[in-house]
C-alpha cells in the first residue's frame, strides 16, 4: 500500500489545536450558555476531532514504518558566530514531530480523552463548575498533545509544565474542600521537585552536547530530538561519562515526579481528591504516563548510561512492589486504584530502564485503557452510591451489571490474565527484564519485585471488586439505591472494556507493531518465556483466588488483632510513614533552615544594615551638635584647623622632607 499520509502528518499541529479551541470557547463563553452541558458538548466535539485525526496519524504511521515527519518553526535564532558562548549558533524552535511512538501516544491521549470527556457529561452533570472543568480538561488535552508531539527538549519541558498546571487545577477542582486544595498544592510541589531536577538535566545535556564537543549543532538546531529521521544525538547514545550519568539521573527524577515513582509518589493517591474522571484521564492514563514517555524519549534520542539504567530499573522495580503493598489494605476504592497506577507505572519504568523502551510504551498503551476503564467503572459506582468507602458498598453487582462487567474486565486485564490486554504487556515487561538478568545480575531483585507484584496486583484489585460488587446488599444500608448510569457514561465503559480486551491483541494485527518499532511484539516465545508466562498467569489466578476466598460473596475478612501481620498492616495503612517523614522534614528540617535563614536575615544582614544606619545616625546626632549656629563656635573650628595645619607644617612636614632627602 502506498497511501501517502504526508499531508496528515504535516497538519499534526491540529491535534493540540482542536482542544485549544475548545478551551478558549468553553473557557470564555461556557458560563454564558443557557445550559452548562452545551460547553461540555463543545469540548467533546473538539476532542472527538482530535481523536479522529490522531487515529488517522496512527494509521499512517502503521502503514509507513519508521516514518519521521518533523515540522519546525524557528522563532529565535542566533546566527553562527564562531566565538562566544555559542560558537555554532543557537536556536529556539517550536514544532511537531510525528514518529511511531508519538502516534501511539496520540491515540492513547485522545481516545481516552474523548471517552472521558463524554463520560464527564453524565458524571459531572450536577456540577456548577462544569465550564471550568471542561476548559481545564481541554487545556490539559492541548498540553498533553503538545508534549507528545514536541520535537525538541525545550518545547517538551514547556508542555510538561503546562500539564502539571492543568493537573494542579483539576486536582483542586473542588477547591472549597480544604483536602482537595491541599492535595493540589501537594501534587504541584512534589512534582515541582522532579521538574526542577529535570530542568537541571536539560542544562547538563545542553552543556555537554550543545555548546561544544561532540554535537555542536544541537543548540544551533534548537535542541531537536531528530534530524532526517534519525536521533540527532544518535551516534552519542551510550556514551558513558559521569556528567551524562548525572543528566540521566535528573531525567529520571523528572519522570519520577510526574509518574509518581518512589520517593516522589506521595502526591498521586492524594490527587484522587479531584473528580474521578480527572483521575481516569490525567492520573491514570495520560499525564502520569508522561514521565514514562520522557524516559522513553530520553533513552531513544539522548541515551542513558548503564549506571542510569540500573537506577531506573531499581526505582521502577522497587516502586511496583512498594505501591502494590499499600494498595492491599486501603478501603477507599480510588486510592486502591491509585496505588495500583503507581505500581503499574513502575513496570513501565522498569522496562524502559532495562533497555526495552518500546516494551515500556506497550505497557503504557494497554495500561491506559484498562486503568481508565477501572477508574470510570469506579466513578460509575461512586456516582451511584455517593461514597468511595469499599466497606460500605457491597452487592452492587445485582444493580449495576454493566459496571460490574466493566470493572471485572479492567481487573482481569490489570491482573494479567490472558487474553486481556494487561497480560501481553506485563508479560512482555517481565520477559524482557528476565532476559537482561543474565548479563546484569543486579536486575534480579527488581525482577523478583515485579514478579511478586503480579500476585499482589491480582489480589488487591479483586479484593476491591468483591468488596464492591459481590454479596447480596450494601453493608451500609443507608446508601442510596444503586442504578446504572446514563448512556453517556455507559458508552465509554463499553468502548474501554473492548479496548481493555483487545489492546494487547492488536499486536497480532499487521501494521500495529510499526508503532512500537523494536519491541518484541508480537512476542516470539522461547521456553523460558513460556514458563514465565505460565508462572505470572498462575500468580494472577492465585491472587484472584485468595481474594475470592477472603472477600468473595460479601465476606469481609478481618485480620485478627493477635496476628503477627498487624504491624505490617498498620505500616501499609500509614503509607510506610513516608508522608509523616516528609511532614517531619518539612516541619523540622525546612522550618529549622528557614528559622536559621530568618535569623541570618534579621540579625546578621539587617543587623549589619541597621548597625551602619544607627552608627551614622548616632554620629550625625552628635556631629550636628557642633553646628550650633553660634559664630564663635565656628571660629573655634577654624582655629582648631589652623592649629592642626601648623602642627602638620612644623612637625610632620619636616619629617617627610627629611625622609625624602629634600
Amino acid at each position: 500500500m502506498t497511501v501517502s499520509f504526508d499531508g496528515v502528518f504535516a497538519v499534526a499541529y491540529l491535534v493540540p489545536l482542536f482542544p485549544a479551541i475548545a478551551f478558549v470557547v468553553v473557557g470564555l463563553f461556557g458560563t454564558r450558555l443557557r445550559r452548562l452541558e452545551w460547553g461540555g458538548w463543545v469540548a467533546v466535539f473538539f476532542s472527538g476531532l482530535a481523536m479522529v485525526l490522531s487515529l488517522v496519524i496512527a494509521l499512517g504511521e502503521g502503514l509507513n514504518p519508521g516514518k519521521f515527519t518533523d515540522q519546525t518553526y524557528t522563532w529565535l535564532s542566533l546566527p553562527h558566530s564562531g566565538t562566544g558562548a555559542f560558537p555554532g549558533g543557537f536556536s529556539l524552535v517550536m514544532g511537531t514531530l510525528v514518529d511511531p511512538i508519538s502516534a501511539l501516544m496520540l491515540v492513547v491521549v485522545n481516545v481516552v480523552g474523548f471517552l472521558v470527556m463524554l463520560y464527564s457529561i453524565g458524571y459531572m452533570h450536577h456540577d456548577k463548575g462544569l465550564p471550568r472543568y471542561y476548559a481545564e480538561l481541554s487545556l490539559f488535552l492541548t498540553a498533553m498533545n503538545g508534549l507528545v508531539l514536541s520535537d525538541n527538549l525545550l518545547e517538551f519541558f514547556l508542555f510538561w509544565e503546562l500539564v502539571g498546571v492543568c493537573s494542579y487545577f483539576l486536582i483542586g477542582f473542588y477547591y472549597e474542600k480544604p483536602s482537595a486544595a491541599s492535595a493540589a498544592k501537594e501534587a504541584f510541589l512534589v512534582t515541582r521537585i522532579g521538574d526542577v531536577l529535570f530542568l537541571l538535566g536539560i542544562f547538563i545535556y545542553f552543556a555537554v552536547y550543545a555548546t561544544a564537543g561532540a554535537a555542536p549543532g544541537w543548540a544551533a538546531s534548537g535542541f531537536l530530538f531528530t534530524s532526517n529521521g534519525h536521533p540527532f544525538l544518535g551516534t552519542l547514545v551510550g556514551t558513558n561519562t559521569p556528567l551524562l550519568t548525572v543528566a540521566g539521573l535528573m531525567m529520571l527524577a523528572g519522570a519520577a515526579g510526574k509518574s509518581a515513582q518512589f520517593p516522589l509518589h506521595v502526591w498521586l493517591p492524594d490527587a484522587m481528591e479531584g473528580p474521578t474522571t480527572v483521575s481516569a484521564l490525567i492520573h491514570a492514563a495520560t499525564m502520569v504516563a508522561a514521565g514514562v514517555y520522557l524516559l522513553a524519549v530520553t533513552s531513544l534520542f539522548l541515551g542513558f548510561t548503564p549506571a542510569d539504567q540500573l537506577a531506573i530499573v531499581a526505582i521502577g522495580g522497587f516502586t511496583t512492589l512498594f505501591a502494590a503493598t499499600m494498595a492491599l489494605v486501603h478501603r477507599d476504592i480510588k486510592r486502591v486504584i491509585a496505588y495500583s497506577t503507581i505500581s503499574q507505572l513502575g513496570y513501565m519504568v522498569l522496562a524502559v530502564g532495562a533497555g526495552f523502551t518500546m516494551v515500556g510504551l506497550f505497557h503504557l498503551w494497554t495500561h491506559a485503557f484498562f486503568k481508565a476503564l477501572l477508574f470510570l467503572a469506579a466513578g460509575s459506582v461512586i456516582h451511584a452510591v455517593g461514597t468511595q468507602d469499599l466497606f460500605r458498598m457491597g452487592g452492587l453487582g445485582r444493580k449495576m451489571r454493566l459496571t460490574t462487567i466493566a470493572f471485572a474486565v479492567g481487573g482481569l486485564s490489570l491482573a494479567g490474565i490472558p487474553p486481556f490486554a494487561g497480560f501481553w504487556s506485563k508479560d512482555d515487561v517481565l520477559g524482557s527484564v528476565l532476559s537482561q538478568t543474565a548479563s546484569h545480575p543486579l536486575y534480579w531483585p527488581f525482577f523478583l519485585c515485579a514478579l511478586i507484584t503480579v500476585f499482589l496486583t491480582a489480589y488487591y484489585i479483586f479484593r476491591a471488586f468483591f468488596l464492591a460488587f459481590s454479596g447480596a446488599a450494601p453493608r451500609d444500608a443507608s446508601l442510596p439505591e444503586a442504578h446504572e448510569p446514563p448512556w453517556v457514561m455507559r458508552l465509554p465503559l463499553v468502548v474501554l472494556s473492548g479496548l481493555a480486551i483487545v489492546a494487547g491483541l492488536l499486536v497480532f494485527i499487521p501494521g500495529f507493531p510499526n508503532l512500537l518499532p523494536g519491541a518484541n511484539v508480537p512476542p516470539t516465545y522461547g521456553t523460558a518465556d513460556l514458563f514465565l508466562s505460565g508462572l505470572s498467569t498462575a500468580l494472577g489466578v492465585g491472587g484472584i483466588g485468595v481474594a475470592y476466598s477472603l472477600w468473595g460473596n460479601g465476606r469481609v475478612f478481618a485480620l485478627p488483632e493477635s496476628s503477627p501481620f498487624q504491624p505490617v498492616r498498620r505500616l501499609w495503612l500509614r503509607l510506610y510513614f513516608m508522608k509523616d517523614a516528609y511532614d517531619w522534614i518539612g516541619l523540622r528540617g525546612v522550618y529549622t533552615i528557614a528559622r536559621a535563614a530568618d535569623f541570618v536575615d534579621r540579625y546578621v544582614i539587617d543587623g549589619t544594615i541597621h548597625g551602619v544606619e544607627r552608627t551614622f545616625a548616632e554620629l550625625s546626632r552628635r556631629l550636628r551638635k557642633i553646628q550650633t549656629g553660634v559664630v564663635s563656635d565656628y571660629a573655634a573650628y577654624v582655629v582648631a584647623g589652623l592649629a592642626a595645619f601648623l602642627l602638620l607644617l612644623i612637625f610632620v612636614a619636616p619629617w617627610f622632607l627629611h625622609a625624602w632627602g629634600v
Binding site: R624, Q627, T628, G629, V630, V631, S632, A635, A636, V639
Partner: protein, 105 residues
C-alpha cells in the same frame, strides 16, 4: 631702628594673634568680637611690616604695600561689621552672637 632678631619680632605678632583668637573664641558681644578680629588683623599687619623691614628692594616695598591694603581692608571690615551690628540690634534687640544662632540645623 631696632636690631632685634626676626624671631623675637615674630614672637610678638604670634602673641597678638593668639590674644585676638582668644577674644574671638570667648567673647559673645558682637562689638567685642569685632575688636578681637581687629587685634588679630593688626598682628597680621605687624607681620607684614616686620618681614618688609627684613627684606630689601621691591620685596620689602611690596610687604609695606600689602600692609597698607590690609589696613584699608580692616577699616572696611569694621564698617561692614558695625552695619551688621546695627541690623542685628534692630532685628533682635541684642548683639549677643550666642542668641543669633538661627544658622544651625
Amino acid at each position: 631702628m631696632t636690631s632685634l632678631p626676626l624671631a623675637d619680632l615674630l614672637g610678638l605678632s604670634a602673641a597678638l594673634l593668639g590674644i585676638g583668637l582668644f577674644g574671638i573664641l570667648t567673647r559673645r558681644n558682637f562689638i567685642l568680637l569685632l575688636i578681637a578680629v581687629e587685634i588679630s588683623m593688626n598682628a597680621a599687619i605687624l607681620n607684614f611690616v616686620i618681614f618688609s623691614a627684613f627684606l630689601s628692594g621691591d620685596a620689602g616695598v611690596n610687604g609695606q604695600a600689602a600692609a597698607v591694603v590690609l589696613v584699608g581692608l580692616a577699616a572696611t571690615e569694621v564698617a561692614v561689621g558695625l552695619a551688621i551690628v546695627l541690623a542685628l540690634n534692630r532685628q533682635r534687640g541684642s548683639i549677643n552672637v550666642a542668641e543669633a544662632s538661627s544658622l544651625k540645623l
